[in-house]
């Protein structure tokens, strides 16, 4: 199921502006990797290059290699649509489809990819909602609109929607930044469970969250405003938060800047 990601020499651009510069790292399967760093340092951009969502932005362009196990996501002939089926994504703000019920939201990925068998959809929806710890809260109102749920529930609905298509990797772009502490806790617990099955990459501004949920942490920074973001270091979360090998990391984590 879960796959490992090897990135080498990756640059991403918005038009003429270079957003991230020469990033290389390995992301281990069945683990949680957290990206931390100041705003604008390219964490989210880098995350979006991992499922080819960066190029959806007008002017977005990428060069370098992203190997998923041994397959280059940016190799010739690779279909971005197939990549996104393998590498799922959860966004910063919960974004359930407003025209769809809770059931249809979870089933959306399968349905829109042409799978319509009722019994299968039902199984997958239940399994995904259980996987996202939402089943008990919504099982009696599956045909109500998804936008009627609370923010935390909506975010878990989006996670259920993302895992319903059975991706290998799950990217999360600040999934808790719009949520209260209790919903955040629910999602963090969920991340702990999901890493048994998926490779998880999470961008967060919350250092405690990175320390709580992740196995490895990558610190990004940028030299100055307008300069591209760089990977400063990536290591075991414990080491990053206790004894990082780069001074800048320690400064950021201890709150001396950023």
């Amino acid at each position: 199921m879960a796959k490992r990601i090897d990135v080498s020499g990756l640059n991403a651009y918005y038009g003429a502006h270079k957003a991230i510069d020469d990033i290389s790292m390995s992301i281990e399967p069945r683990s949680v990797t957290a990206f931390i760093g100041p705003s604008g340092c390219g964490k989210s951009t880098f995350l979006r290059t991992l499922n080819r969502m960066h190029e959806v932005t007008p002017g977005g362009r990428v060069d370098g290699k992203v190997l998923l196990d041994d397959e280059d996501l940016y190799g010739p002939g690779v279909d971005p649509v197939a990549v996104r089926r393998t590498v799922g994504m959860v966004f910063q703000r919960p974004n359930p489809f407003p025209t769809m019920s809770i059931f249809d939201n979870v089933a959306a990925g399968l349905r829109l990819n042409g799978s319509h068998k009722k019994s299968r959809l039902k199984d997958v929806v239940e399994k995904s909602l259980r996987g996202a710890n939402l089943w008990n809260e919504v099982k009696d109102r599956l045909n109500k609109p998804g936008s009627g749920l609370s923010g935390g529930q909506q975010q878990r609905l989006c996670i259920a929607r993302a895992i319903a298509v059975e991706p290998q990797v799950l990217l999360m772009d600040e999934p808790c930044s719009a949520l209260d502490p209790i919903s955040t806790l629910a999602i963090e617990d969920l991340i702990g469970e999901l890493k048994e099955r998926f490779t998880i990459v999470i961008v967060t501004h919350n250092m405690q969250q990175a320390a709580r949920v992740s196995d490895r942490t990558a610190f990004f920074n940028l030299a100055a405003v307008g300069k591209p973001g760089k990977l400063i270091e990536i290591d075991e979360t414990e080491r990053i938060f206790s004894n990082p090998s780069v001074q800048a990391t320690e400064d950021y984590i201890s709150g001396r800047f950023g």
């Binding site: 499922n51 969502m53 959806v56 007008p58 649509v81 197939a82 990549v83 996104r84 089926r85 393998t86 799922g88 994504m89 966004f91 703000r93 974004n95 489809f97 407003p98 025209t99 959306a108 990925g109 829109l112 990819n113 109102r141 109500k144 609109p145 936008s147 009627g148 989006c158 929607r161 993302a162 298509v165």
Partner: protein
């Protein structure tokens, strides 16, 4: 207001804080009383000065009321409140000025049009009836309008919709800018020019005769930019996050547009198309040039002259007899009712299809 006066007002019951937040206000009856007074004064002046237009009476009353409220409020409540009242009055007067012609138009049409409007009128054509004779009907014109507008919609709605989808979802760079520019230019085409264009191409160069279809083509030219514009605005309102959410699920772009973007904006798009239909339903000039008008029923829009409601109104009015005047008003009423039903349907669809948040 000074502390001394406020103390005098509140006597001895609450002696502690002089309330600076409170200030004297006009009593509730003051404004209605002023309005009545202004109205009376307006009518009085009108009568005295021998103005025979009641509109002038109303204007005098309105001016007196605005000036009176301003002066009175400024004296009692302060200048800021006075300005607030002034702005409120101006907004209300502007609203009334906008509504009065609409209401009187509707009233006039209903009053005059309902005279001959009945089942017979709706289900018969003019046939061989002489113009000065009472009787006859609009059935042929209703059929013609329905067919011409229907054909125009069949041409313009899909083209406009696809153009808007191109512009919002795919269009980048010069081609998109050019398309936008020409859509803007097309929005300003006078209907008679669209009619002349189709006349020269379809009838004069290609040699076809007048037909409902020829009229429908001209109507489609008029309708298309309206559909493009309104659809474009609606598609732009769909949050980008929804597109990204769908793409991130591994859904191809065309499917995202078809299953996420369009359903989310369907209510607004339908409203836009309906309003565009309403706009072309009342067009007379291209129909006059291309469909010519007829007195008998022609069910085939592809062959021969047809009638349409606005053209029927125009031709009946031209006849100049009492009976034809009545028929013109009745047909105008039918036309207004048709457009109104379209608008109501559009609103219904918009409400029905709007994304709902229920628990």
């Amino acid at each position: 207001m000074s502390v001394a006066t406020s103390h005098r007002h509140r006597k001895v019951t609450e002696p502690r804080t002089p309330l600076a937040l409170k200030q004297s206000r006009l009593p509730r009856w003051a404004l209605p009383a002023l309005a009545a007074a202004a109205l009376a004064a307006g009518c009085g002046t009108g009568l005295a000065a021998g103005l025979d237009s009641t509109v002038q009476w109303g204007l005098i009353a309105a001016l007196l009321f605005v000036a009176g409220t301003f002066a009175l409020t400024a004296a009692v409540e302060g200048v800021r409140q006075a300005k607030d009242r002034l702005a409120t009055s101006v907004v209300w007067i502007a609203f009334l000025l906008a509504v009065v012609p609409l209401a009187s138009l509707l009233w006039e049409t209903v009053a005059r049009g309902s005279k001959v409007l009945d089942g017979y009128f709706l289900s018969h054509s003019m046939g061989t009836l002489p113009d000065a004779m009472p009787g006859g009907g609009v059935y042929h014109a209703i059929i013609g309008t329905l067919e011409q507008v229907g054909l125009a919609t069949l041409i313009a709605a899909p083209l406009g919709l696809l153009t808007a989808i191109y512009l919002v979802e795919y269009g980048r760079g010069r081609l998109a800018r050019t398309v936008t520019f020409f859509v803007d230019v097309m929005t300003g085409i006078p209907s008679i020019v669209a009619g002349l264009f189709v006349l020269s191409v379809w009838i004069l160069i290609l040699g076809f005769g007048p037909s409902g279809f020829a009229g429908a083509m001209a109507l489609a030219i008029l309708m298309m930019p309206v559909v493009v514009r309104s659809t474009e605005e609606m598609l732009k309102l769909v949050p980008n996050e929804l597109r990204e959410a769908s793409l991130a699920l591994g859904v191809p772009k065309w499917r995202t547009i078809l299953r996420i973007v369009l359903p989310t904006s369907l209510g607004g798009i339908t409203t836009g198309v309906m309003l565009a239909i309403a706009r072309i339903t009342g067009e007379t000039a291209p129909v006059l040039l291309l469909v010519w008008g007829a007195k008998t029923i022609n069910n085939n829009p592809f062959d021969g002259a047809q009638q349409s409601l606005p053209l029927y109104v125009f031709q009946q009015w031209q006849q100049g007899s009492d009976a034809s005047y009545d028929r013109a008003w009745a047909a105008a009423l039918v036309l207004i009712a048709f457009v109104m039903v379209l608008n109501l349907v559009a609103r219904g669809i918009a409400r029905w299809k709007a994304p709902k948040a229920g628990r």
